[in-house]
Subunit: 344 residues, 2 copies
Amino acid sequence: MLDERDREVLCAIVQSYINNPDPVGSRFITRKYAFSLSPASIRNIMSDLEELGFLRQPHTSAGRVPTDKGYRFYVDSLCSHEHQYDNRAFFYEITRELESIKNDIDILLSETTKRLSNFSHYLGVALSPKAGSATFNRIKLLKHRRNHVVTVLFTDEGMVRNKVVDVDFDLTQRDLNRIASYLNSEFYGCNLNEIRTKIVREMSEEKILCDTLISRAIRICREVLSSPSGNIFISGFTEVLGLPDFSDVEKIKEISRAMEDKHLIIKLLDKFSESAKDEVQVIIGSENSLAGMKGFSIVAATYKEGSMPVGSVGVIGPTRMDYSKTIAMVDIVSKFITKVIEGK
Amino acid sequence: MLDERDREVLCAIVQSYINNPDPVGSRFITRKYAFSLSPASIRNIMSDLEELGFLRQPHTSAGRVPTDKGYRFYVDSLCSHEHQYDNRAFFYEITRELESIKNDIDILLSETTKRLSNFSHYLGVALSPKAGSATFNRIKLLKHRRNHVVTVLFTDEGMVRNKVVDVDFDLTQRDLNRIASYLNSEFYGCNLNEIRTKIVREMSEEKILCDTLISRAIRICREVLSSPSGNIFISGFTEVLGLPDFSDVEKIKEISRAMEDKHLIIKLLDKFSESAKDEVQVIIGSENSLAGMKGFSIVAATYKEGSMPVGSVGVIGPTRMDYSKTIAMVDIVSKFITKVIEGK
DNA sequence: TATTAGCACTCTCCTGTTGAGAGTGCTAAT
DNA sequence: ATTAGCACTCTCAACAGGAGAGTGCTAATA
């Protein structure tokens, strides 16, 4: 479909536009990229590329601009995925500054997104491990004031989570210990999601258990498991405001709305976690299924725990994004987080 | 200094400008506010008010606009602080929807700021209780994997906080229990800040204790207390983008930078907590000591725990802010949070 | 003496025009 | 197949003119 020359021109246009958001014209291409072709020939090629949907013109007598399809082709077939030199500073910074934060995954992720946005100039995003996919190790119940129980849940993965649970009955610490050991023997090694569904089923079926210790145990456990979605971290709004892509107030509102709708972004990143692909993934502009996110691209990857993806980290920016560099950065970051978590 | 008539005119100008961000002219005043004076007389008054620093003109032949000093006078002497009717819906919403979130103060505050920004159209902010001012009740240490200890700290105020602490020595659960009971007997009833300073002192003085149980206890405790500052919650960026005050990209960058600098806002709100005044406090534009926050106003109040202010909640917006309404809202919110916390 | 009508003046903002500049597509020559 | 040449289109910046809003000042008025 595209011969070598066409590809070269497309590549030059995309790179030039990424570098500087002006529609790129034929003359500019010949001069800047030293093709052994005249502007007129370039124009013919550009015209073909436009026909094929890789480029478009903002208006007659403007240069060309890549379409989402153009970016896609560039990412898949044209851009080099080596960018190690540029990103070396980034790599050193995160390893040097963040390796020590290994006990609090939330802080680690939040700091990571900050660094990511600083270096990429786009939004850094990360999704903390979903509790649901973790494995129940043990639970500890501590009496707090009357009617309050502090629960501390340990997972096999080393996550610790606490929550204060209201109970409508008074329990001694001894009762709590018995409840805890019941839960521990019942659920040891189970996946938290499974436990939740199991509990819901049992609660609807066996109303008989009412007011026994087990029923209380179940009720407490349900409370503990009731907040399933992981935290999301987004950094770098000020950073993106500096980009020429956001010199327009409408564009700013758009990305701000997208950011506010955290649920949508969570959903999106969740998809990444599910598709257990190993590489960095890229969603470009309108490929996105979310209405509010068309116009932006997402570059993301998962980080793993015991070879299972448990969360994701990435970058959101304009479609006019330095994909090559960003992909390399996200790759670095996802591997780094995996390493920190596993090495814990 | 200002007679009754001058005040009325100033009040009209401020209110008109708050209502609609156009410089207000003499003719407009006479018509809208039905003064029994001609535009020419109003002009004379306005000229006086400008001389006194309450008003300024963006340019000759524009109307007048309040200065920070003008807003200050308005807030202190002119505006009515009754706004109950307008805010009734707001009051109902927060009491109905948020009262149930009493076990997790962070979620309560974050939801509160969301509601606050929705109703005010400005940024809602809140500072969670500073751990330092709380009172040690007891600590529980649980063995996590090798070299990791899960600490659960209870305060008299009912706060629970957990943290995973790395230790460079292996301890049995039994050791941990002994350490915990040492800490419990040593620090029961102490203020957390005191404990921290005490620990720092002891660690520098008595190196002798090295490698004993007590030294280990102290080390763990220090870790637990090492993150002193409270969380900050800010909501409503999309909300403020809708205001005419932020139709300019520069203004947007300004407020975005201010938001990113969370430390500064924390500092600012901390001051509110310290000055133990009971009322809602207002900082207008350049009264602010923070460079990045000039140009914005802050309306904030503290919420209390046992009649001690422990955190603050408020609103950040343009100096052209509906002070009357906002002050009433912040008042409602701060009292609401106090009630929820105390009633816990 | 305080108030006001009248008027000249200033400044912004909108609109329309114009010319430069950049880039294109097409055609004919190489 | 490539390219030079040219007419055409579109944007953008600069400029001018006119409407509109508001002011300050002065002289007349109650």
